[in-house]
């Protein structure tokens, strides 16, 4: 009988999601305290930490991780909050929202390359302004990309986190009765922005807290964006951990493990610090509300927010555009705005490699996305059939794999796998991707799945349809659009994964993302253009399909359009 399978799915899903995280942290803790039998070392000892603190770059690497991570989170949250405060519900906002949704799926690495191609001294902006405005006839000798303060890296994170936070907040707005509250506040003489911040923001923030924490943890420990845009000497702590991990010297793994524990402590510390900041902010917020201040510079704030949001969108779009130009550029001297000629030679040269990587990328993404979809539907259906209740604590469990920094547990997972003689390669990479894909697929599908009118199920059952019949013949077809969207989210997340592919694949699994990031140090802009575009396409195409397929399948079903 198949009956016992469904109730087990939630437990299996949790195991697949949290098991690798727990195992990875365990596998990091052991070598961090000097225990690595594979290298003939048995602990416990504090030597790895002594070595870590002896590394002269530590203070700067730690500082960089904290400043870029916290900075990117604060700026993107501020822009998103003020954008919503000033513009939500307006025509301008709908335009921006429509532009932002596809940007969410642009992989971090492609957006980072695009940004670099725009603002580098020899980038497109310098070319457009030279020599007429700047007077440059050769690229100026200034360090913009990979600047020592990590400002460009922070910008690269911000342009990707803004779309994420906006779309999450829009989902939260629905439950906050935003429009009514703002209308009432305005009737009481409050400006739009001030009224929104005082009435709607507290409700919205309460709901978007977990994703904000994810943004903070992610930004502090990101590797691919840091490799492309971040400083080199020293790099951020996470990048240094990966460098140590790839050192052929096995003992360097101890250093990497100690660094990984340090990274975990940093993120936990930053999250705690953020929580304290929230409490302080709430305290001052309440006083601000009690003061009755109506807000005087609301229009200016709103304009600044709209400008920042617009710039962030344009940077990503023009970045991709420049990637596209480079991928077909012939000779392109500085300061010409466009290449002398366009050629297919770059694609002829890098195309075969890129298509091979595309195949690997797609194979992994489809397998992982499909597994995540099945597990998610199974969990949600088990919840529906057995009347399980989802508590706030369970929601945090879902966010847990996204809150633990990748650099804290993936090195340990790799070390653990080597220790037990497990083969690195494609299957472990898929399992590692699943850890990050599952939460996003679940978060994407759970709301529409739960919002389905249960009376439809009652009617179908009353007509004699079995529980499985109701699921397959009624519920899933009705939910085709959100299911395909969740699948597309899963594919995009898998396509963008860098560190799990690199570490768990042992360097032998070459996806578009690992190949593209590997090109960063070489600086071959034409190759980067080809790989970056392919990577973006691989993430965007599924979203286009998720829009198109339901429209075609249900073209004669008005009741299922525009949901």
């Amino acid at each position: 009988m198949r009956r016992p399978v469904l109730p087990l799915l939630p437990a299996l899903t949790l195991l697949l999601m949290l098991g690798p995280v727990a195992a990875g942290i365990w596998g990091t803790l052991l070598p961090a305290f000097g225990h690595l039998p594979a290298a003939g070392l048995t602990g416990p000892s504090l030597e790895p930490f002594v070595a870590l603190f002896d590394w002269p770059g530590l203070a700067r690497a730690v500082l960089l991780s904290v400043t870029t991570g916290v900075g990117a989170t604060v700026v993107s949250l501020a822009v998103v909050t003020l954008l919503l405060a000033g513009w939500s519900g307006t025509r301008q906002f709908r335009v921006l929202e429509r532009l932002l949704s596809p940007l969410l799926s642009v992989p971090h690495a492609a957006a980072a390359f695009g940004l670099a191609f725009l603002i580098a001294p020899s980038g497109w902006i310098a070319r457009l302004l030279s020599p007429i405005v700047t007077g440059w006839d050769r690229p100026p000798d200034i360090l913009i990309v990979q600047d020592p303060l990590g400002l460009t890296m922070m910008a690269g994170l911000i342009i990707k986190e803004i779309p994420f936070l906006i779309l999450i907040s829009i989902a939260a707005l629905g439950q906050a009765q935003a429009q009514n509250s703002v209308t009432i506040a305005q009737a009481l003489g409050y400006g739009r922005v001030t009224g929104w911040l005082k009435t709607v923001f507290p409700c919205v923030y309460a709901q978007i807290r977990p994703p904000v924490y994810v943004v903070l943890a992610y930004s502090m420990s990101v590797v691919d964006v840091a490799v492309i845009l971040g400083p080199n000497t020293p790099p951020t702590l996470s990048v240094q951990i990966v460098k140590w991990m790839s050192d052929p010297e096995l003992s360097m793994r101890l250093l990497a493990a100690a660094g990984a524990i340090m990274q975990l402590a940093l993120v936990v510390g930053a999250l705690a610090f953020w929580r304290v900041g929230e409490i302080a902010f709430a305290h001052f917020g309440r006083r601000w509300i009690a003061s009755g201040a109506r807000g005087r510079c609301d229009p200016i704030i709103a304009q600044v927010a709209l400008f920042s949001g617009g710039v962030s969108v344009l940077v990503v779009l023009f970045g991709l555009f420049v990637l596209a130009i480079w991928s077909v550029a012939g000779y392109w001297g500085f300061p010409d705005a466009f290449p002398d000629g366009f050629t297919s030679r770059n694609w002829m040269r890098h195309g075969p490699g890129a298509f091979a990587a595309l195949g690997e990328t797609a194979f992994i993404a489809v397998a992982v996305g499909f597994s995540a979809l099945i597990l998610t539907i199974g969990c949600l259906e088990a919840e529906y059939r057995h009347g399980l209740r989802v508590t706030q604590r369970a929601v945090w469990l879902l966010y847990l794999p996204l809150l633990v920094p990748q650099t804290a547990f993936l090195p340990g997972l790799q070390t653990l796998m080597l220790g037990i003689g497990a083969e690195v390669g494609r299957i472990p990479v898929m399992l590692a991707h699943l850890v990050f894909v599952l939460p996003y697929v679940f978060l994407s599908l759970s709301d529409p799945f739960r919002a389905w009118d249960a009376r439809t199920g009652t009617v179908a059952a009353a007509l004699g349809a079995s529980p499985d019949g109701v699921l397959w013949r009624v519920r899933l077809p009705m939910l085709l659009r959100p299911i395909l969207t969740a699948f597309a989210v899963g594919l995009a997340v898998s396509v963008g994964q860098y560190l799990p592919t690199l570490l768990i694949g042992g360097g032998r699994v070459a996806t578009l993302t690992t190949e593209a990031v590997a090109l960063a140090s070489g600086g071959d802009r034409r190759a980067i253009g080809v790989y970056g575009l392919m990577q973006t396409g691989a993430a965007l195409l599924p979203f286009a399909m998720a829009l198109l397929i339901p429209t075609l399948v249900w073209r004669n079903r008005k009741g299922l359009r525009h949901e």
Partner: protein
Amino acid sequence: MNKGLFLRNIEISNGAQPLLTLSHDIAPGEVLTVMGPSGVGKSTLLAYITGTLSPDFTGSGSVVLDGRDITNAPAHKRHVGILFQDDLLFPHLSVGANLAFGLAPGGSPADRRAKIAEALAEVDLAGFEDRDPATLSGGQKARVALMRMLLSEPCALLLDEPFSRLDTALRAQVRDLVFIRARARSLPVLMVTHDAEDARAAGGRVITLEVQS
């Protein structure tokens, strides 16, 4: 065999809070109307009978339909038809496919098509098989929903404020249609409503539930 829907000592509570108690027999062709303000648990009573009670509630007492105790039967094996205030036609299926979903299994494809055509003709919707349900008027949808339910050959009929979304002119028309069809098939009917007009038109006994405290 004892025909009819027998509700014996039914008690439903919301946690420790008792919601309603009811004990009643409904003979074939008879309509029992349950009235009461919203929140009194009328729909919960129907959920208990269809086997879709939310786990927030606990119910006891037995439901016997045509001599068969269905209290613990799975929802899809109870042969209890239900109509809600919304038509709840499956939006992804055509009108014909909606009816085919309801039509009890068996018979050749041609037979089944004929039965569906006949059902549509019976409610003045002949030739509507390929229509998208979203393009029908409110009255037409209500009629399709009724025929879909009747084609599944239920042994009892539950009505959950089934006419409250229809405007006054349509309301009487659809109501008569439902009661005439139910009586013609000798179905025991349990209707919950807060509309006195519906209760009068049903012509059967009326029970009024009070909020328990």
